[in-house]
């Protein structure tokens, strides 16, 4: 069988600066030629010519920078990991030799087993470190690593928060569903409880089935300067009943406009 001749790409720069590409002795479209030429350069399949055009030079510069960046990017099993993880791991392992190994899957313990057998082991490591090291916790918070789970900011959390010593001198204000102002640590907590019972009962009545759980995600306002804790749960549209919302939507207590039914509390529910 005759050996197939490899068709090499020929690049000719005219005196005018125009670049022409030829393959198999025939001229090919400039766009196609440029694409093949760039591919060959990136994969080191041909030496870099000295007469590069400004756009080719720019491409070369960028591809070299990208290669360098890729080589310096931490990966897990060959795929780059989010930058936030890399930054955090450098904080957790400041002087370790294996920081030089860019693939985290290859980081091993003394017995040769991988430190991060699963991808989530990286997250686990970061989570644990953040509990022990305040600097890491601060960094995580600043970088937006934490996202509070929905439904965990319920009455119990509010009560736990406002019972802390730090809030002793705070004024607690609640704007209730009717728009009335309620003041005082105990009164606010009691009113929130009544509000939760009312809403859950209305949802349950509207659905006519077991409400497994109603989640209340409150967004109070903390004024640390004037020491005021304020939570506004005023009904945003009293003409629209909870039962109407529940029948039209699933899982969220939102008005047709997309706003919360009650101002600063995002309510979700699940049923059985």
């Amino acid at each position: 069988m005759a050996k197939r001749k490899i068709q090499t790409l020929k690049r000719v720069v005219a005196k005018s600066g125009q670049v022409y590409f030829f393959k198999g002795g025939k001229r090919i479209a400039t766009k196609k030629g440029e694409k093949l030429f760039r591919k060959e350069i990136v994969n080191n399949l041909r030496p870099v010519p000295t007469n590069l055009t400004p756009s080719e030079e720019l491409f070369l510069k960028r591809s070299q920078a990208a290669k360098k960046a890729a080589a310096n990017t931490y990966k897990y099993q060959g795929r780059p990991i989010p930058r936030i993880y890399a930054v955090l791991l450098q904080k957790i392992y400041p002087k370790k030799d294996f920081l030089q190994t860019m693939d985290l899957y290859k980081w091993t313990k003394a017995d040769g087993t991988p430190i991060f057998k699963r991808f989530s082991d990286i997250q686990r490591k970061i989570d644990n470190a953040s509990q022990k090291d305040s600097k890491i916790f601060k960094l995580l918070t600043e970088m937006g690593y934490f996202k509070d789970k929905q439904g965990r900011t319920a009455l119990i959390d509010i009560c736990e928060i406002i019972q802390q010593k730090e809030y002793d001198k705070f004024k607690f204000i609640l704007i209730d569903a009717q728009g009335d102002e309620i003041r005082g640590r105990v009164a606010v907590c009691t009113a929130i409880r009544d509000f939760e019972v009312d809403v859950t009962t209305e949802i349950k009545n509207a659905l006519g089935m077991n409400v497994v759980k109603t989640y209340f995600d409150y967004s109070p306002n903390y004024d640390f300067k004037n020491k005021i804790f304020e939570l506004d749960i005023e009904d945003q549209n009293r003409k629209i009943e909870i039962s109407e919302i529940v029948q039209n939507q699933k899982g969220e207590l939102l008005l047709p406009s997309g706003k919360n039914k009650f101002k600063n509390v995002y309510i979700t529910y699940s049923v059985s």
């Binding site: 897990y76 795929r79 699963r118 991808f119 989530s120 997250q123 686990r124 989570d127 953040s130 509990q131 305040s134 916790f137 601060k138 918070t141 937006g144 690593y145 934490f146 996202k147 509070d148 789970k149 929905q150 965990r152 900011t153 009455l155 119990i156 959390d157 009560c159 736990e160 928060i161 019972q163 730090e166 105990v186 009164a187 907590c189 009691t190 409880r193 009544d194 019972v197 009312d198 859950t200 009962t201 349950k204 077991n210 409400v211 497994v212 759980k213 995600d217 409150y218 967004s219 109070p220 306002n221 903390y222 699933k250 899982g251 969220e252 997309g258 919360n260 600063n264 995002y266 059985s272």
Partner: protein, 280 residues
């Protein structure tokens, strides 16, 4: 008014409170997720949101007892779980598929408890026999919480929040399943669509090799899984809001979630406060 068990409604609570106030009786109102109890000198009145079968409470007690008796359980109870959420997929974009793959973990929390040696085989089998919602409630009771309101002379004079010491074990379970979902998300790469608690949705074009890898991971960790039939799958993203609709096992399903940070001020504050505490 002793030994009463009523349906929890605002009117019922108000009526009891008014009656106790007019009779000048001091009392403690214990308010939890499912029940509200009013304890007074003559006894206790129980108001319940849902009526659970006794087997739910029985299973819950078995789980709690086993967890407290296990070494890992004791360890978890001493630690704090950050209650964080990595997001099921913050980068999710609008998309439509006639069909898509869905791997669902079966009895995820029960298996997680058992696989980690937190419950005995007996408790595990008992849990598996319960219907899904009852099983979930039994395990969820690990994180029972309530607030006690102290009433004197008809006025609330103090309150005291309480969390079950085993609450951290429940948060641990959530985290463990979340870590597992993160592993699957990583393995699927571009073929991953999103996950919801213990079920992962992936593109219909997902290569066999990736699916096998996911299955191997689940098998190696001792989790049982099943494939669900999903049709008419669509993701609609409107800014931060994501609506996922599908027909799963011939039943319409709809999930809604936000990917933004709106309504997270309290979370941010808690983080800030915790940081201050850590610094001190």
């Amino acid at each position: 008014m002793d030994g009463l068990s009523l349906r929890r409604t605002p009117d019922a609570i108000k009526w009891i409170q008014d009656s106790l106030e007019s009779s000048d009786i001091d009392y403690v109102l214990k308010h939890g997720t499912y029940t509200t109890q009013i304890e007074h000198e003559m006894g206790t009145i129980k108001l319940m949101l849902n009526n659970f079968q006794n087997r739910v409470f029985c299973a819950s007690q078995m789980v709690k007892k086993d967890c407290k008796n296990s070494e890992l359980g004791q360890e978890i109870m001493k630690a704090t779980h950050q209650k964080k959420n990595y997001d099921s997929n913050p980068k999710i974009e609008s998309v439509k598929y006639d069909t898509c793959f869905n791997i669902d973990l079966s009895s995820a929390y029960a298996y997680c408890l058992f696989n980690n040696g937190l419950i005995t085989k007996k408790t595990f089998n008992y849990l598996l026999k319960l219907p899904k919602m009852e099983r979930l409630t039994s395990v969820g009771m690990l994180a029972t919480s309530h607030v006690k309101y102290f009433y004197s002379g008809g006025k609330c004079v103090d309150f005291k929040p309480y969390r079950e010491p085993t609450a951290q074990i429940f948060f641990y379970l959530i985290d463990e399943i979340n870590y597992l979902m993160q592993d699957i998300k990583w393995m699927l790469g571009n073929d991953f669509i999103f996950y919801w608690v213990d079920g992962v949705f992936m593109k219909p074009s997902t290569p066999k090799k990736k699916i096998q890898d996911v299955e191997n991971l689940l098998i190696s960790l001792g989790y049982k899984y099943k494939y669900e039939k999903v049709e008419n799958f669509s993701v609609n993203r409107i800014q931060d809001k994501v609506i996922v609709e599908m027909i799963k096992n011939d039943e319409s399903k709809r999930y809604e979630f936000t990917t933004g940070q709106s309504g997270r001020e309290l979370g941010k504050h808690i983080a800030k406060k915790a940081f201050q505490d850590l610094q001190n």
